[in-house]
Amino acid sequence: MSLETILFYFFASICAVTSVLVVVRREPVFSALFLVLNFASLAGIYVTLYAQFIAVVQVIVYAGAIMVLFLFVIMLLRPEKEKSIFSGNPTLQKLSIGVGVLVFFQLIYIIIAGTISSGKSVAAEQRIRTGEVEFIGRELITNYLLPFESIAFLLLAATIGALVISKKKFE
């Protein structure tokens, strides 16, 4: 077993355990903190796949900015006064477990029976090069120029929209 495989299993097990913990913890802040760990271990998996830049983005954007937002939402809502969604609704709990199991077996089926497109295996050097920031930059301003500029409009609209919705006094 190579080092890469060991690392993959290490990060993947952290990822799986923490994602279960996110769901079962009663205290929402704990759930949020386990989600941070989950995102961090996902970043580890990205590194084992030679996607360094994506791993860094995962840590900066998801484990950083988005988790801050999550924590603020939890603090805004005073969740200790909220009843658990499932406590008065066992049917919903059964239903959600059912859906989860269904999705799980669907994924298992796809992994075992589906043919992931073969003939795409490339050498390690090539894969490392693809994950480099410079490579992503070249793609962004050549092939992905239109998405790049469109995202600027998307972020602009998101800025305006967020302020319209959340501002205290609006005029």
């Binding site: 080092l3 301003i141 602009l156 998101a158």
Partner: protein, 147 residues
């Protein structure tokens, strides 16, 4: 050893270092807990009420704006590294991107979203009880000397 290997070795070393430190401290320190010691703030005021206070909504807006600009930075980093290879066109692509985001930022600024409006009570306090003007120590000494 690849670059990743070095980073991995560094991270493992960091984790081991912390764990060993805490574990040795646990082994050699005396262990005599009292009720007083187990309080959250051993030497301070006793904690009153729930720590769950509703945060000012402003924090959330700032976090939201931060998230948007965070995503922007993530997209700009790859551009910064290579735009020189593509000459003026390469520069323009990123320039348009930054221009749009700056437009959003100026919008926030003009609409007063980056200002931190203090709660009313604080303003009231500040206006009613005028604090004495602070004079810098050096100036004070100088005044004393001249007097």
């Amino acid at each position: 050893m690849t670059e990743f290997g070095k980073i991995l070795a560094f991270m493992i070393l960091a984790i081991v270092f912390v764990i060993v430190g805490i574990f040795t401290a646990y082994l050699i320190r005396p262990h005599r807990p009292t009720d007083e010691k187990l309080l959250t703030y051993e030497c301070g005021e006793n904690a009153q009420g729930s720590p769950w206070v509703r945060f000012n909504f402003r924090f959330y807006i700032v976090a939201l704006i931060f998230l948007i600009f965070d995503v922007e930075i993530v997209l700009l980093v790859p551009w910064v590294l290579i735009y020189q290879e593509y000459g003026i066109l390469g520069f323009l692509t990123g320039f348009i991107f930054i221009f749009l985001l700056v437009a959003g930022m100026i919008y926030e600024w003009r609409k007063g979203d980056l200002e931190w409006d203090r709660p009313e009570s604080e303003k009231f306090m500040a206006n009613t009880f005028k604090l004495p003007k602070l004079t810098l120590p050096a100036k004070k000494i100088k005044e004393e000397v001249t007097n």
